[in-house]
Structure formats: structure tokens, C-alpha cells
Symmetry: C2
Subunit: 364 residues, 2 copies
């Protein structure tokens, strides 16, 4: 389980998308309202399941690992406030909470995984002796375990990825696979936090990542909060900064990795990978091994979500394209494995060919 003391020691070093209130040991949550970034840093303090649901639904907290952790902690916090000594009644109420939270983002796999893990633990423990109060503690510990594992995953990816960074390096990233998307240092950004902690100087070029601007609103913001040198660029400037020799390395996150190493990530990632190849710049994907979907032979089988056209037409609250013009708005693209120099996981950095190595790490 998460050690409250080490958590508190660590918490000054990184922006946390959400955190449990360790002093109030009943799982109260503090969540950064990411919809207000970068203009305002505001925290929502809550122990109410409905409010946690709303935070996930309206993207106040986003990023698959972050959503999973926040939902588990929200479930525990809600459970603490159920007033009953009847275990069955308690279990049913908590399962209802879990169902409610699970409906907040229907596509986020980590969300279901974390909530199922919590309710499964609760059901298994309910058969034992022990009161409802004991179950509440068990549930909170399970949620904190999920968070601790996420923190550990981030840190380990950071340590592995650190070996790729050099003093004075220029690193390009796309979208936000950082602290605001996970329970800790993120995935793609974790090696940068690890390097920064060791006093290494380097510059991160952050693609703004249209249409939702996670790069400029979130990545540029979270890195600058801890004093990492970050330069915000429009997506269409990536080629130019590469040409000027400013980029030594690209690191991005991933939402799903197929068995052959093809990696789905935020739209625009594939283009960055092609540009990196043309400029002979190494292109790395950082993701937990749980991202690997071994059931998919190749990336062509990963479904690409099409999103609402108004994200492009009025993405800034203002009409920036003709009102009824057709748009094409895929949320993700797939980078084929042949453009990927390596996959940084918490079980090591995999280099091509990936197929066999991906099979091995998910087994281990």
C-alpha cells in the first residue's frame, strides 16, 4: 500500500492531477480542474461519488491511468460515507457507486479495470469476519494500492527512459502523457522529470496538439510548474524544429499497442514519427505494459474514434472554420512499428523487432 510518509515527501516535486488527503484518512480527494488550465489552477475537494463522476465526465480529470486511480479513490471516499452496519446493504451501495462511476467515460479501459478490482476485493473480503468499517478501510487500501502501483509504474518508466536523455538535449513530445494523465510523473514525461530531478538541463518542445490542445494547455503547463525548460509550438512547426537540429529525441505516450508494436496515440503522433524518421531522430513510445493488447495482431485493427467536428470548427470557443464545413476529426492515429525506435515500459525498454518481446513482458 501507499506509504503516507513517502507520498507526502514526494508530493512537492510534481503537480498531481488528483491526490488523496492522507491526513484525513478517509480518502477525501483533491482534483485539479484541468478544464480551467492553463488560465487557472483550481482544486476540487470532494468525497462525493457524484462529484467524482462529474469530474471524470467533464474531463476535469483525464488520461486513462489518472481516471482509473481517481475513480478508485472516489469509490473509497464515497464508501466511507455510507451509514450502515449491514454488510450486504453496504456492498450493494458501493457496487451502485462503482456502476455510476464506470458510466462516466465508456471507453476508458483503466476505469473499469480499477473499479472492478476494488469491488472484487470488497466482495472477497465481505465473506471474512470484520465489520463494515473494516471493509471501508480495505477498500481504501485497495484504491491506494492502485495509486501506488501507478506511481511505481511512472517512476520505473522514468528511470528506464532517463538512459535516453543527455545534457542539453532537445526532446519533442506530443499531447499530454504526463503527471496530469497519471497518478505521478506520467509515462512520456516521466524520463524528463527524472532527468530534471538529477539536475540535467534540457529543452522540451511541446506540440500544442490540436484540436484539444493538451500539449499547450497541459504538457507545457505541468513541465513549467517544476521549472523544466519547455517551448510550446504549433503542431505544424515540428518539422521545422527538427530541421533546425533542435530535436535529439521524440517521446510520446500510447493508448494501445498491438502485438507487433504498432502504437495508437493522439492524432498527430504518426506524422511526428514520419518526420522523425526523415530527420534521423529516434522516436520512442512510453507506456505501461498493460497498454499492450496482444489480441490485436497489428495496429490496423485498433478502432479509430471519430470525434465531433465542432472541436475543430469552434475549438477555442470561437468559430474558426465555416459553420457547416465538413471536417475530419480522428482522435487517434496508429504509428507503425517500423517507425518506432523503442517502447519504454516499466519492464524495460524494448527495441525492434517487438513481437516476441511484447509477448514476453506481458507474461512476466
Amino acid at each position: 500500500m501507499l506509504d503516507p510518509v513517502s507520498w507526502k515527501l514526494d508530493s512537492g516535486r510534481v503537480i498531481r492531477a488528483f491526490e488523496p488527503d492522507i491526513d484525513d484518512y478517509r480518502g477525501k480527494l483533491r482534483i485539479i480542474d484541468q478544464t480551467l488550465l492553463p488560465e487557472q489552477l483550481e482544486y476540487i475537494e470532494t468525497c462525493d461519488v457524484k462529484e467524482v463522476y462529474a469530474c471524470i465526465k467533464r474531463l476535469a480529470v483525464r488520461g486513462a491511468p489518472a481516471i482509473g486511480c481517481a475513480a478508485a479513490l472516489g469509490l473509497a471516499a464515497g464508501a466511507f460515507r455510507v451509514v450502515t452496519a449491514d454488510k450486504e446493504k453496504f456492498l450493494n451501495t458501493v457496487k451502485g457507486f462503482a456502476d455510476e462511476l464506470a458510466s462516466s467515460r465508456p471507453t476508458a479501459v483503466n476505469l473499469f479495470w480499477a473499479l472492478n478490482r476494488c469491488t472484487a476485493k470488497l466482495c472477497a473480503s465481505a465473506a471474512d469476519d470484520g465489520s463494515v468499517d473494516t471493509l471501508k478501510i480495505i477498500l481504501l487500501h485497495e484504491a491506494l494500492d492502485i495509486l501506488a502501483e501507478d506511481i511505481n509504474m511512472c517512476r520505473t518508466i522514468g528511470e528506464y527512459g532517463l538512459s535516453l536523455l543527455r545534457e542539453g538535449a532537445g526532446i519533442l513530445t506530443h499531447c499530454n502523457a504526463g503527471a496530469l494523465a497519471t497518478g505521478d510523473y506520467g509515462t512520456a514525461l516521466s524520463p524528463m522529470y527524472a532527468a530534471h530531478e538529477r539536475g540535467m538541463k534540457f529543452t522540451v518542445y511541446s506540440d500544442e496538439t490540436r484540436p484539444l490542445l493538451q500539449g499547450s494547455r497541459l504538457t507545457a503547463w505541468e513541465l513549467s510548474q517544476v521549472g523544466i525548460d519547455v517551448v510550446s509550438i504549433c503542431d505544424n512547426m515540428a518539422a521545422q524544429v527538427m530541421k533546425e537540429g533542435k530535436i535529439d529525441l521524440v517521446i510520446v505516450g500510447s493508448d494501445r499497442i498491438a502485438a507487433n508494436g504498432d502504437a495508437a496515440n493522439k492524432i498527430g503522433t504518426y506524422g511526428v514519427a514520419v518526420l522523425a524518421k526523415y530527420h534521423h531522430i529516434p522516436f520512442y513510445v512510453a507506456a505501461p505494459y498493460s497498454t499492450v493488447d496482444i489480441t490485436l495482431e497489428h495496429g490496423g485493427l485498433i478502432p479509430i474514434e471519430q470525434r465531433d467536428g465542432d472541436e475543430i470548427r469552434r475549438g477555442f470557443g470561437k468559430l474558426t472554420a465555416p459553420e457547416k464545413v465538413k471536417v475530419y476529426n480522428p482522435a487517434f492515429d496508429v504509428t507503425p512499428h517500423e517507425l518506432i525506435s523503442g517502447i519504454i515500459t516499466e519492464r524495460g525498454i524494448l527495441t525492434p523487432p517487438f513481437s516476441h518481446k511484447l509477448k514476453e513482458i506481458i507474461k512476466s
Copy 2:
């Protein structure tokens, strides 16, 4: 000189960034206020030099050829309203107008060229007999000649470029090198207007072109006004639409072409060219031969203007990046000649190697 009858016949077929009022044969100008697009289509009607100056300065009219034409017509309109029979006094007043207009956009070469041509014509004609009223007509005719030549340039580029288009084609363009940037059909967009007039069906994918969104605000708007099938995409989606086989051809404009064929254009063009190369898609540059700067051996000698960081940080009147975050905001990039399949000019389509052919066309 421009034939008023054919102008009027043509004028229904294309959106015109600006146009002289042919009925009121004293050069009154109608200018689309492009700063209001795509939300509102509003025309500014003026015959006042100060107002034309303001229109150019605040980008109500933009695009190098359009600025040159509008300034010349604005000068003629202003001259018509000078009340004097004294030729020298008239000449000095008009030269003052020209100086004022020239100061509106200090880097637009076409602007100085057009204004110098008008005042040179006026000075040469002042030595002849003939009254101030005659000089006013001569000046207007010179301005209309400039416009007629620009129209002719656009149409000829369109006819040459037409040979590259096929029924059902997908064409990608970046920024706006269309009707809103010239006196007529534009450069990069001219072949599309020519094909549309002949009833050809095709789809244009228009990069939105951050930071100033000329693609989504202007290109998508002007093409959809005449019923051309256009799809607005974020810049970072170009690679994906290419990968999906949606693009058969890329056509972009250019601001300056070096002696070896390297072409400067709006930031993001170079990245599109690299992506086109990777996907084996032909990449064409369309520009009048006057764009060729034979004094520059290669594109590395073209200075790249750096623009204000707030175009990226608050491009839409809203803060979309941390307020003080560093940004890198080059206005242009240079596409090396080896990525260019051909240069479409009003003197034919040049194919690689370009050096000798570029020298020839500027001589002819």
C-alpha cells in the same frame, strides 16, 4: 486594361477579396473584411486612402498579390478625389498617398512594386499635355492593368495546374493561396477553381494552418462558397489522411522561391512536403514567376520571420498555453527543392531539376 464587361461576367464565379466598382468608374473599392471570416461576410466600401491603408494594415485584405492590387486601386480612388487643376500639386499629393499606403505592410514586396509602378506611370504621363482629370484616368487604368495582369496570372496558373487534377481526386493544401490572397482565382487554389468550372468532382483537404488559421478561416470558406467539396482538418491530421489514401496531390503557394527551387511558404508547408514524400504523393508549388528570387542561391538564404508568441499562446482571444511559456513562432519554412515535384507558374509547370528552368522563365 481590364475589360469591364468580362470582369462583370466573371465576378459571379469567384469570391473576390476586393473589387473596383466598374459602374462608378472612379475606382471605388469593395473589400471583404477578412478579419471577420468565416463568421461574417462584410464588405468595406471605400474610396479613401486612409481607409485602404487601414484595411491592409489590420489584415482586412492580405496575401501579397491582393495587397498590391488593392493598394494600386486605393491610390487611384484617392487620386480621383483630389480637387486641384495643378498637375504638380496633384502629383505630390498622390505620391504622399503612395508613401502612406506603402507603410501599411513593410515586408510585402508586391505592395511597393504596385505603388511604384503607378507613380512612375503618373510621373511619365505628367510631362504630356492633358489635364489632371486625364492623369486620374491614366492612374486608374494603370491600377486596373495591374489587377488584369494578376487575374491573368491566376487563370494561367489554373489552366496549367488543371492538367494535374483527375476526377475524384483528393488534394491537400496548406494556408490560403486562393481568391482571398490575389485578384482572382489565387495560385495554389486556381487549378481547383478551373477544374470546378469544368464540372470535375474532387475533394480538397484544407490544413487549418495554425497559428492564424488561414486554412480553416479562409481556404475552407472561399472554396465552399463556390460549392467545391472541402474538408477542414487540423495540421496534425495531414499524415493520417495521406496514410488512408485520401490524398493524390498536394498543391501549396509560395512567398519566395530561390534560384535552386527551394520554396518558402507558410510554416507547416515543409512538414507537409516531407509527409507527401513518405507517402509517395506528388507535391506541387504554385506561384507567379515574380516569386522567383534568382539572387538567392538556395532557400537557406531566405530570412525566416519570427512572429509574436501570443499568436500561439492566445491565438483565439483565449489563453491556450501558460501565459509566460516560451514559444517558437516562425511564420514561414523552406521546402527544399528535392521534395518538390513541380512548380506551377503562369509560364508553365517546371519539373526538376529547377535551376536552369527558373533562370529561363524569369528571362522570357
